[in-house]
Amino acid sequence: MAGLSFDNFQRNKFLVSKGFGQPMATSTGTTIVGCKFNGGVIIAADTRATAGSIVADKNCEKLHRLSPKIWCAGAGTAADTEMVTQLIASNLELHSLSQRRQPRVITALTLLKQHLFKYQGHLGAYLIVAGNDPTGAHLMSVQAHGSTDIGEYQSLGSGSLAAMAVLETGWKPNMTKEEAMKLCADAIESGIWNDLGSGSNVDLCVMEVGKDAELHRNYLTPNVRSEKLKSYKFDRGTTAVLRSSIHDVLDVEETVITFGNDAMEVDA
């Protein structure tokens, strides 16, 4: 029961041999970045999910929580980034419970890279892992095959080139939190405007040493849809109906009845 089941793999190989292809998975054709600053680390992401050239989700969440103070940004196959992140978050929690210590970023990264290496790149997860732990603030990244990087600033995803251009231009040592937030947001925005796979809004997460992580969901919303000037509401009865049936639902309402303080009467 446990783990992934491979039995449909053989069926699908048979279907492929009959000339049928594979379905298109949702991918986060994405821009994600991370940047350290004096006293912490920041990660940021855009919020567009794509299926081929179709925008599948205009405001998805690519910032995942691995532990309260360790977050990661995901690019690549959406389901893989989501599931791999949930799995590692669980294992990290169990690990920190058994060790009675706060989880460390390097532990999260090691769990991720060992899992991804095991799958030889077939899990399409590209992640920027960041956070703080008893050893300080850290910023790292891991690719689908299991290789990892450590750096002061990082970018990943289809918009990584556009974002890196901004990071390389604007980055300097010992930035303040505000400077780093601006730099990360600008880098994501450059992905939003210049990369087709990225779009919509900027999500941002600040992890300052000694403080709780702050998630700024929709930190920037440069693509708010303008309100429709007219309504496309149809007159009731526009659609021709052949048959109609109604199923009544019994709505259960719960009310709590509090008894008096007197002790319950018990037969002797």
Binding site: D7, N8, Q10, R11, F14
Partner: protein, 195 residues
């Protein structure tokens, strides 16, 4: 290019299957019966990869009969029979060498007193239909059946409709399929009809 055709009528189901067996350019047999009796009120008709077809149909036949032996002579209903067959095909599709068999199951539900026709293909697609056909024959027959079929048809009208369909196939199909064997499933059971 086997012909497998089924029509559900007012109180029976008709199943017609072609009599020819061909390999490449040769006709090997001209009195083949592409059906198997599953139980008193269920008949399976099949087409597909040579070898797979009979092997699969007889495996189903054996299991349906085994069920009746184990369960105190309870006969599996057409719906249950079709679900079982679909499940076998859908499971087989995930193995190293899946059965490439398409079937029609003609049945008569003794509980509801209604005839049924089930369409199931090798992928595991199942549909309960008023009339159905597999393979190229479907392209020729469906339009005819769409036009002339009525749900309340008696056996005689059904046979006329079937004759019309077979005639069309004999005119338009590129090869001689040596006529058809016709079987009826109704409340009395399964019987062959001479055409």
């Amino acid at each position: 290019m086997d012909v497998v055709l089924g029509i559900r009528l007012k109180d029976c189901t008709l199943i017609a299957t072609s009599k020819s067996v061909t390999r490449g350019i040769s006709v090997l047999k001209e009195d083949d019966d592409k059906t198997r009796i599953l139980n008193e009120h269920n008949l399976i008709a099949f087409t597909g990869e040579a070898g797979d077809t009979v092997q699969f149909a007889e495996y189903i036949q054996a299991n349906i009969q085994l069920y009746s032996m184990r369960e105190n002579d309870i006969e599996l209903s057409p719906k249950a029979t079709a679900s079982f067959v679909r499940n076998q095909l859908a499971t087989s599709l995930r193995t190293r060498k899946p059965y490439q068999v398409n079937v029609l199951i003609g049945g008569f539900d003794t509980k509801t007193g209604k005839p049924t026709l089930n369409y199931i293909d090798y992928i595991g697609t199942q549909a309960i239909l008023p009339y159905a056909a597999h393979g190229y024959a479907a392209f020729y027959c469906m339009s005819l059946l769409d036009k002339h079929y009525r749900p309340e048809m008696e056996l005689n009208d059904g046979l006329k409709l079937l004759e019309m369909s077979i005639k069309e196939l004999q005119t338009r199909m590129p090869m001689d399929f040596k006529g058809v064997i016709v079987k009826v499933i109704d409340k009395e059971g399964i019987r062959k009809i001479d055409v």
